[in-house]
Amino acid sequence: MALERWFRRQRPTRGDEGSPAGLWLKCPSCHAQIYRKDLVANLYLCPECDHHERMPVDARVAMLTDDGTFERWSGHILPVDSLEFVDTEPYAERLAAVQKKAERPDAIVTGAGEMLGERVAVAVMDFSFLGGSMGSVVGEELARAAERAAEEERAYVVVSASGGARMQEGALSLMQMAKTTVALEALTERRLPCITVLSDPTTGGVTASFATLGDLVVGEPGALICFAGPRVIQQTIKQDLPEGFQRSEFLLRKGMLDDVIPRRELKARLATYVRLLRGAPVDRERAAERVKVEKPELSRAAVL
């Protein structure tokens, strides 16, 4: 935990919560003005239209695991700039800046916890950290978590959010696709479920490796999920893209996802999947909890 202390020490004294720009947000879907606190209290769903905003990692972990059960595994390995990659700015400097802001060494959090009583390991990617890109550390954390989940007889739940491989780490970032894939074998060998939740956005090398290799693969509503991004495709084919192209609901219709699950129902549904896949008997008491998270009383009504 020395590392976390270090990050705390590095933290700037002025957080951005206090800035006036952070108080009100505009929903990108219905354009309503939303009070930031309401969005946070509402699982980052627009109180007006249920638009699924991207969710910070810690909030995601808190939402998916039972209170007080989460034990963090990740954070003990640090990325290195082995290629000394420099574009308009050195990678090492970008990395240092985002590490300081995020208070974690890379774009992922993994750990153990309970999900409505089910023993799980969770891995949650952080899109706000260099676009959730997968370099050696993200790949290694995903692999280690899969292997430790297998050792501890836990189901593995992964929430992806990533622009793909981290190009500043060159071909080794590409190789994380193979690494994360082979690490899942530990779970397969013990018949432990791996369930992947594709959140907005999941693209490139992450979609084309572990993220779509779950025993079950589900999407969050409205999430962009693709191999090549819409802009790349548009540039290639020089045509307009179909309505809703590459969004969860579109991919569900195309047969690529097991389901699209609203965030309020996600934890309950994942717990059900784990229980059914593992063939465990129903715990009647807990079954009552397997319903969706109700919309909270909001502190201030959203205004148009």
């Binding site: 390995i77 590409l174 082979v182 074998e185 084309a208 495709i233 084919i237 192209f245 195309k254």
Partner: protein, 317 residues
């Protein structure tokens, strides 16, 4: 058409040809002068190719006239018999698969094929596979496992095709599946990056026990052009991006991504395709020879470990 940095080599070659035909016409002996120029040519070619920038290597890897996968299938293997189709969506010409013999052994081969001319390039979609191409690879991996036949793949693609149908048919899903299927092969697998190893679309058939790479081939997480457009916001910065991405064979050997560099004839594979094919044949044969003693379990473990350990990071204190 020569690559820009090949111009002096090309000019010198033209001069030698001129001198030779002049000597023939005039019935004079210019052997000494020709030998001198040939000597200079050899030195110039060697020096030029020894000092290629990474961006120049990218150009060599994509050079017209460079042997394509089919040239290797024909030159390295005997009795190559193409097998078509993926049994689900169609038959993707960007991926060529089949059965063949390598020395005394039957093998299953899967190769990404660019065109040798414009017409073939269009037919092959410039070596950019659709999901059907990866599905074809997957069903051939199944075939190889069933009959315990070693697998040989040739990698040469700018990347998986980015199109509407490709996305609708799950391009990401099939690439992931192909990576996983190949990692599960119970037989020896050898991959050779012969030209361009373009991102996930290349890795999909590159999860081998031994990964070889031609001296002037490149293998990268993203093309220099796309990297430049994203990171420099300027596609013209491709040479800088190529430098930064460390995508050449020596770079990748150093990173542990590949196991061996296959030498190209002086001046590059496009100058002497037959020489390149011969080198690949020797390297592939000895790679399989090296894996011969390993049983199914050992092959699986070796391949899994090989990819599991890739990456660089430090442990926190």
């Amino acid at each position: 058409m020569p690559l820009s940095f090949e111009k002096p080599i090309d000019d010198l070659e033209a001069r030698i040809r001129d001198m030779q035909s002049y000597a023939e016409e005039q019935q004079v002996d210019m052997g000494e002068e020709v030998a001198l120029l040939e000597n200079r040519l050899a030195t110039l070619t060697r020096d030029t190719f020894a000092n290629l920038s990474r961006w120049q290597r990218v150009q060599v890897a994509r050079a017209p006239g460079r042997p394509t996968a089919v040239d290797y299938l024909e030159g390295v293997l005997d009795e190559f018999t193409e097998l078509h189709g993926d049994r689900t969506l169609g038959d993707d010409p960007a991926v060529v698969g089949g059965l063949a013999r390598l020395g005394d052994h039957s093998v299953v081969v899967i190769a990404q094929q660019k065109g040798r001319d414009t017409k073939e390039n269009i037919h092959r979609n410039f070596g950019m596979a659709h999901p059907s191409g990866y599905r074809k690879a997957i069903r051939l991996f199944d075939l190889a496992d069933k009959f315990a036949l070693p697998v040989l793949t040739f990698i040469d693609t700018p990347g998986a095709y980015p199109g509407i149908a490709a996305e609708e048919q799950g391009q990401a899903w099939v690439i992931a599946e192909s990576i996983q299927r190949m990692s599960r092969l119970g037989v020896a697998a050898v991959s050779v990056v012969i030209g361009e190893g373009g991102s996930g679309g290349a890795l999909a058939i590159g999860v081998a026990n031994r990964v070889l790479m031609l001296e002037n081939a490149v293998y990268s997480v993203i093309s220099p052009e796309s990297c430049a457009a994203i990171r420099w916001r300027d596609a013209g910065a491709a040479p800088q991006a190529a430098e930064a991405l460390r995508l050449t064979a020596p770079d990748l050997l150093e990173q542990g991504v590949i196991d061996e560099i296959v030498a190209e004839p002086i001046g590059g594979a496009h100058k002497d395709p037959a020489g390149a094919v011969a080198n690949v044949k020797a390297a592939v044969s000895s790679a399989f020879e090296g894996l011969r003693g390993l049983d199914r379990a050992a092959l699986l473990t070796q391949r899994r470990q090989r990819f599991r350990k890739l990456g660089r990071f430090t442990e926190a204190a």
